[in-house]
Symmetry: C2
Amino acid sequence: MKKTILLTALVLNGLTLFAQSNDEKNIKLFYKKALTEAKCYTWLEYLSNDIGSRLSGSKGAEQAVEYTKRQLETLGLDKVYLQEVMVPHWVRGEKETAYILDGKTKTVVPICALGASVATPKGGITAEVVEVKSIDELRSLGDKVKGKIVFFNRPMNPENVGTFDSYSEAGDQRRIGAKEAGQLGAVGAIVRSLNLRLDDFPHAGNQSYGDLSKDKYVPGAAISTNGAELLSKSLKANPTLKFYFKQSCETLPDVLSHNVIGELTGTVTPENIMVVGGHLDSWDLADGSHDDGAGVVQSMEVVRILKNLNYKPKNTIRVVLFMNEENGGKGGAKYEEVAKQKNENHIFALESDSGGFTPRGFSLEADDANLKKIQGFAPLFEPYFVNTFVKGHSGSDIDHITSKTIVKAGLMPDSQRYFDYHHAANDKFDAINKRELELGAATMTSLVYLIDQTGIILPTAN
Amino acid sequence: MKKTILLTALVLNGLTLFAQSNDEKNIKLFYKKALTEAKCYTWLEYLSNDIGSRLSGSKGAEQAVEYTKRQLETLGLDKVYLQEVMVPHWVRGEKETAYILDGKTKTVVPICALGASVATPKGGITAEVVEVKSIDELRSLGDKVKGKIVFFNRPMNPENVGTFDSYSEAGDQRRIGAKEAGQLGAVGAIVRSLNLRLDDFPHAGNQSYGDLSKDKYVPGAAISTNGAELLSKSLKANPTLKFYFKQSCETLPDVLSHNVIGELTGTVTPENIMVVGGHLDSWDLADGSHDDGAGVVQSMEVVRILKNLNYKPKNTIRVVLFMNEENGGKGGAKYEEVAKQKNENHIFALESDSGGFTPRGFSLEADDANLKKIQGFAPLFEPYFVNTFVKGHSGSDIDHITSKTIVKAGLMPDSQRYFDYHHAANDKFDAINKRELELGAATMTSLVYLIDQTGIILPTAN
C-alpha cells in the first residue's frame, strides 16, 4: 500500500506559507494566548460552581447545554447549533446508607449506587459477604454466593505509571460485577472504588446488567477505598459478619437532550471535518470539573483561540460537546448517526477526557504512516514539555466516528491525580489548576492547527 | 581536551554485569518499590503534620533534625551523623497587619514580613504609596520616593511554561526591594507575592539589605496577589491614598543547628562521593511540604530503596539534609567547608528542591561531555514519562560544592503548581500527591544508580 498526502495543489501552496519556522511561531502564539487571555478557566468556573453536576437527564445537564451554546455564540463561529439526542435518565434518589454489622457493632461505611443499578428493597439488604478479587474467582465459587453480597476488592495496581492502565485492569469489577453476582444468585454487589488512593470517597461510574434477565438484577454499589480496606479486614476477623446497604436509585424513561456543536467552516476543503470535543455530562456526586468540564472548556478554547487569531482553517473545524458519555454514550452515537446520514467525511477527531492536568502528549489511533507523521511534530511541542506521542485509545465519544480514513487523538494529561477525583464528590473546581488547564487547551489547539495545515495521509490501493 | 571515563578495571568488570537490559530491569524495580512500599509519604506526613514549620532556629527545625536522623538510623546505612552549623535566627513575631487607607475607608489586605526584614515602629507605618514595576523604575524616581512606601508590583510572567523562569525574572523585587527603597529614603517596601495565581496568600521569602548602612534599613513585606491587584487599582483611583502596615519581626543571635547526613560507603571507589539531598528548613507560615519536605523525604527514599535492595554502591552515596537553605544557605556552605577540610572528592550531587510534583526530568550542571552522557540515559526513563534532560541550575544547597570535576543535577518536577504554594501558608501536606512524590524518589534513585554504575567523564589534558 502506498501512502499519499491528502492535499490539493492549493493546499500545497498553502503549505509553503507554513514552514516549520512559522509553525513554531504560531504554536508559540497559541500557548501565549492560552496562558494570558484564555476563557476556559472562567467557563469552567461557571459550569462547576454555578451549574454543578450534569448527569444526563438532570437540570444541570440542560443548563450546561444552554450555557455552552450561548458561550459558543459569542465567539463568532460560522455555525452554532444543537443536535437532539434521547438519553437515559437514571437518578440516585436518597443518599445511600451502608454499614458493617459485626455482632452488635455497626460501622458505617461510605457507598454510592453505581449507574444503571436497581434499588435495594426499601428496608435495604442485609447479608453475609463473600470477598473476591476477580470475576473469575466469583465464577469459580458458583452456588456458594447464593443469598450473599459479593464484595469485589481488587485494588487498582499501583505499579503502573500510567494510571489509566490500572483503571482498565480493575474496571470489570464495577462494570459487570453486579451482573455476574446476580447471575449466580447473590443479592447484591459491593465494589471497591476505582481510586489508587486510600480515602473516604465512594466513586460512581456505570455498570451494565447486559443480557441478564430482569429478575436476576441485584443492586450494585461502590464503597470507598478506606471502607473496602475495613470491610476486608473485618471479614478476616469474622467471615460471617453481615453487611447492610440501602439505595433507592431508579431508571426513569429516556429524555430529550442535546449535543452542542460549533463550526469554523473550512476555506479550502470544507467537506473534510475535524472534530475537537469533550463531554458535557458528568456524574452526579460533584461538579465534574475534571471529568469532563475540563475537556469541554478546552475544546471551546481551541476554536476561541483560532477564531480570535482570525485563522482561516482549510478544513471544517467542529467543536462538539457530547451529551451522555458517562452512562450510555448516546451523544457520540447520535453524532455518528447524523454524520452518516449526511455522508460527512471526518479526517480527524481529538477528545479531551482525561482531566485538566498538565498535558504530556497524545494517545493516537492512527495507522503507522499517520502515527509517524504526528510523531514528527514532536520537536514543535518540546518547548512546552509535551513529549509523548503514542498509539492508544483516543476518547469514548469519538470512538463512534467511523469515517473511512480518520486519525483520532486523545489529549494525554499527567494521570497521577485523575483517579483521586474521578466520578467522586471531590471532582470540583478547586481541584483544577488554571495554568494546567490552559496548557492543555494550547496543546490541543496546536495539534488541530498542524493537522489542518498538513492533512492526513490517505491509504492508496497499489 | 580529550575525555576519558572515570573507571578502574574493576569497575569495568562491574559494568559488564550492568548492561542496558539490567539497567532497565533495575530501574523498573526502583519505580515498583517506590510506588508500592516507599516510606517517603509517611515520613513527610510526620514532618508536616507532627512537626510543622521548620525555619532555621525554630523548635520545628531542631525536631526535624532529630526525626530525620532517627529515621535514617533505621535504614541500616554505614554512617548516620549530624554536622554542626551556626544559622541565622529570624523570628516573625506577632502576625502582621496592613490596610489601604482611602479617605476614611480602611481595607485590610494580607501581608507577611519578608525574611531578614526589620520591624516597623511599634505603631506601624502609614505613608503614601509609589507603585513601581522594577528596581530600575524605582531608581529613576530618585528622591520622589522619600517618606513613601514603595510598592513593587511586577507580576510573574504567565507566558513562560516553566514557572521557575518567571520566578527568576520577578525575584529581584523581593530580594532587594526594601534595600533599594531604603537607599532612596522610602519608609518601607511592599512587594507583590511571587505567585502566578490570584489568591489571598502572602508569600514569604528572604530579602537582603546588602551593604546598606543600618540606619537606612526599612521594613519589607509581601502582599498577596489579590491584595496587590486591589492596591494598584485603588492607587489609580486615588494616587494619594495611604497604606498602613505593622510588623514586629526581629533577627536574634545565630544559633547552633545541624545538617543531617547518612552514608552508604562505596565498595570500589569509596573516596568518590555522590550526594543526594534536599533542605530540612522551611519558611514559618506553613509546613513546607513541597519546599522542601518533599526533597528531604525523597532523598531519604533513594538510600532506603538502594539499601533495601542490598545494593553495593561503587562510590560513596551520601544523603545530605541541609539546614538553612531559605535564609542564609549556611548548611550548604558548612558542608562544603568540611568537605574541603577533609579533602573530599565529590563526583556527583543531586538536589530535589522544586516541589513534590510529577517528575519531568533533570536540570543539569555538567560540561558537554557529561551532559551528553546523561542525555544518553533518556530512553531508560521514557517508560516513566521522564523526558527532560536540560542544562540548567541544579540546587541552592549543592551550589556550594566545588569539587574539581563534579556533575550536578536538580530534579525537575512539573512546575505549574509550585508557586501556588511556595513559601505560603498553604504549602501543607494535603497539597502533596503520594504517587507524584514517590515517582520523584524513583526518578532520583535511577539517576543516582546510573551515575554510580557508569561514573562521570573526567577532562584530561591533551
